[in-house]
Symmetry: C2
Subunit: 247 residues, 2 copies
Amino acid sequence: MAGKGLKFRVILVEPFYEGNVGSVCRAMKNFGFDDLVLVKPCEMKDFAKAMASHAQDLLARARIVDTFEEAIEGADYLVATTGKPGARTSRHIRMPYFNPKELRQMLEDKSGTVALIFGREDVGLVNEYVERCDMVVYIPTSVEYPIMNLSHAATVILYELSGFEGGNIALADGKSLERLYSEFRELLVKINHPEHKRDKTLMMLRRVLGRAMLNNREFYTMIGIIRDVELKIERMEKEEVTEEESS
Amino acid sequence: MAGKGLKFRVILVEPFYEGNVGSVCRAMKNFGFDDLVLVKPCEMKDFAKAMASHAQDLLARARIVDTFEEAIEGADYLVATTGKPGARTSRHIRMPYFNPKELRQMLEDKSGTVALIFGREDVGLVNEYVERCDMVVYIPTSVEYPIMNLSHAATVILYELSGFEGGNIALADGKSLERLYSEFRELLVKINHPEHKRDKTLMMLRRVLGRAMLNNREFYTMIGIIRDVELKIERMEKEEVTEEESS
């Protein structure tokens, strides 16, 4: 949750070509972005600087962290980028996915901090991190050769979001959303939702609520409902126990 | 003039970093393009191939030519890309300019071969070539750092034009348009348009007709009108001479 308008953070997870990191800095500065976080990046020497060109200031200011959790700290909405979108609706991790124009449209009236997350050059963003994201974005590419260069993918997404200020509807903050999902998990346990289906059901909920882009008010209402349901169940369970005891 | 639909050609004028040439090949293949022409490029060795990645076939097929004229041979419509758009409406070379989304909209119903032309990494596309183009395209970037990496600029434009088939309205072919502009020049001479204004006026005409995207029928009508005007003037000049002789 932030003040009015959108802020964007670019997160590169374990990039291993320094030229790409420099190139991403250049694209960020070209399109007016300046918050870059690198998770366990490669060593960066002269070639990163050369590719950053007049964006070396941005490269120098980039925050380097050891974990994904540190990188997303303070971000309200996490966008996973991937060159490998989902293929089946029964698998929820990378499905549904949206293109950069749709992302822009969906963020049109929002405010908050949005993290744009890019994975490693060879494997892309792995499931462990995609699962944690609120939305999956895929750049429509040729079937023949869909995998883009890291800095090219960043360029396209930053180009689409450039000069974009968002609106007034505050996105629920990231930590609140995590609380919501953990409440949901507890609820699934309480209602005896089959254990082997829980992860999948939660992933689906994340994709549904992710694309709905919950605002704060909606978050409080939803978490309130879940708690009421839990309380109701707890009370009924106690009554059952009491009845059993008294019978 | 071509059959139904649009074909795109990418032309790089004197690129001098082989990595950029390879990167452009990759972006082209990512977005489904395959016609690349290089005008006096740098030497291309291993790094070009590395950056082309799975688009090395496209790099190997690229046509290498010595002149701009050879590169545009057979193209109907020439799009100059620039990081330095015009600033004053009184200078017509780089004004008006359009963004990639506008280019796509304008080409929506057209057919023919469109050349997307990119200049050198350091100076961009120089006036000598921008003047020959039918339209100037500029990617909206930050005032602070507007100059993009060559392959990033190509990526944005190819992304916008990807999967785009165009329509049925055949663009007038490039050679016809050049004839039209040379007829215009002759007409300006005939009507005593001030010599020092001729180049500027012709540049303006090119920008007006360029963004109008003339089709064949329009071309023939226009060239017909110019010729009629010229004939009329010639006949009147002859009559004047005859009258003078007889008086």
